[in-house]
Symmetry: C2
Subunit: 388 residues, 2 copies
Amino acid sequence: MEVKARAPGKIILSGEHAVVHGSTAVAASISLHTSVFLAFPSHSGNDDTLKLELKDMALEFSWPVGRIKEALAEFSSAISSSPTSCPAECLRSIGALVEEQNIPEARTGLASGMSAFLWLYSCIQGFKPATVVVTSELPLGSGLGSSAAFCVALSAALLALSDSVSVDMVHQGWSSFGEKELDLLNKWAFEGEKIIHGNPSGIDNTVSTYGNMIKFKSGSLTLIKSNLPLKMLITNTKVGRNTKALVAGVSERTIRHPDALNFVFNAVDSISKELSAIIESPVSGELSITEKEENIAELMEMNQGLLQSMGVSHASIETVLRTTLKYKLASKLTGAGGGGCVLTLLPTLLSGTIVDKVIAELESCGFQCLIAEIGGRGVEISFNGASS
Amino acid sequence: MEVKARAPGKIILSGEHAVVHGSTAVAASISLHTSVFLAFPSHSGNDDTLKLELKDMALEFSWPVGRIKEALAEFSSAISSSPTSCPAECLRSIGALVEEQNIPEARTGLASGMSAFLWLYSCIQGFKPATVVVTSELPLGSGLGSSAAFCVALSAALLALSDSVSVDMVHQGWSSFGEKELDLLNKWAFEGEKIIHGNPSGIDNTVSTYGNMIKFKSGSLTLIKSNLPLKMLITNTKVGRNTKALVAGVSERTIRHPDALNFVFNAVDSISKELSAIIESPVSGELSITEKEENIAELMEMNQGLLQSMGVSHASIETVLRTTLKYKLASKLTGAGGGGCVLTLLPTLLSGTIVDKVIAELESCGFQCLIAEIGGRGVEISFNGASS
């Protein structure tokens, strides 16, 4: 028995940072995925291990199933087939299992993801041997929701081969889950995210699960259906950021200049509302796709200016802006800022030659460029080796 | 009889563009001057010409005084010793006098300044021979108020040697005018500015006349006394701009996104008010100079972000921002944007080595760098060859 699941990453289209101060933000799924392949051995013979293969990094970890069972024995009451938080004590036991593995020094950041994996696996599938292979198109730790996509794809694969969910195993190619199944796997993925991030907002896993776009404000999320196919160039500056310090920096600036910053947050709120209205507006509406794209480009440029006034830009982000501005393309940072990724809207009518030129110029600065459609489908599964 | 007058240029410290939409703006004088030397021949013998020498450009123009008198004869009733607008018909006659001169093709922009010169000269001094020599530390047409500084210095020199103004001709070095004299010469300079710019705001000549800083909102100007010596690096990108098109662009954007832009303008208003409060606050106040400078740097960065959200930045401005950001220095465009000049605050404690590095890097991009103190004295005169 085997299944493959893939879940998309996300971008923040508008409203990062301002959302902390009560503004509306908009997040969207991107057509870059993390895929999880799950296979149970046909004969549960002498191969009694749980294997986790991280293909992109050429890393493989494995645990004797008995070893996991033993480590988690005293927490059997906490292990439930419905989404549950991993108790702190149990997380320590799992941490010990992870530490037994030979994680390269440069990859110690993987440890929390491996803990999330062991928790989700044990809860949903119990203690049995399997092989799990992870591949990803998403750069890690760059604000594109790679950890959430991993948790969502993993939960999807685990649930698809469990009794708690009934799925159509005959369908050819990628297929979606029903609403109820999505709600369940989103909850599981959120438990995984909590192990990785401590106190996640739940936005990343929700976008990865349901796809499309999400409007969020003061903790409440609204799914919005995109009627506008948008293509973005995502430039990964590869500059690491300290999200907490950036968020704190905006708050401190707000204390120093409350009037100015509150007007800035209100401006961002208007931008997010306008953006989501354009994206939801009917295809046959007043504005052509080109007009909508122009409007979105302008709103992105405005949002970027406001983020700069919050103090979360960075020389690497400025380099991307400067480069894309030369080609009259609008860009904004996405996520925490201070490095990380920058979005550039690629209008439908933009020639491929220009796109190639922009990418060549950005890559010559040492940046990584990805192209993605945004607002597409959420998590999907395939039982017959669908190509990613 | 001879006199030398010098008048400072100006920068917009905050609020450009937003001021058109009702926000407060702050302008400041800079320690870069345009100087006008005026000399009447000791023997009004056979040298019966009015000479205008533009020393920096190695250009010299001259008119027989009789020729000027003849051309303006029919407008004698309009020529007054108190500040008067040049009637359209008269401006055409003056324009003909200017066209007779041999202006190099690359310098046709000088024509309106020469018209202003002939009008102010004829009104204040009548028809008599003289030599006028102009030198300037201000780059032309880059938003630093070079035309206003010329009109102010010219009016000052002309009035100093006229009967309408009594000045202390014995004082050594540079000396200032009295309040009443300043008001008069500011009005004359404004008439000159009208010939050059059509419909100027009056801010440039007012800053150049009175020095210090000026807060302006909805057409009303308030002089503010600076208690904080500030040093700025002024980077001239040398990219020409179309101010009218930039102003119109912001208005069009405001029509498209009224809510967002109105919040942006309100944020700018708060920034201008904060800035002027810091500058006016007593030296012995709560905050040290370093703390005030940090505050001003932050407000400049915020204002720049808001200007970007209005869409008036430019790749050349981004290059300056990116470069100074590397050295943790705050910058903002000044004036219309779309090229022009960029301000960078040079904190008191910044080492000269860093300043040299930043300048070298900016100049390697083809930009011109100037250092100026801001908020200093206005127009001054000297009767004994004070060095500029």
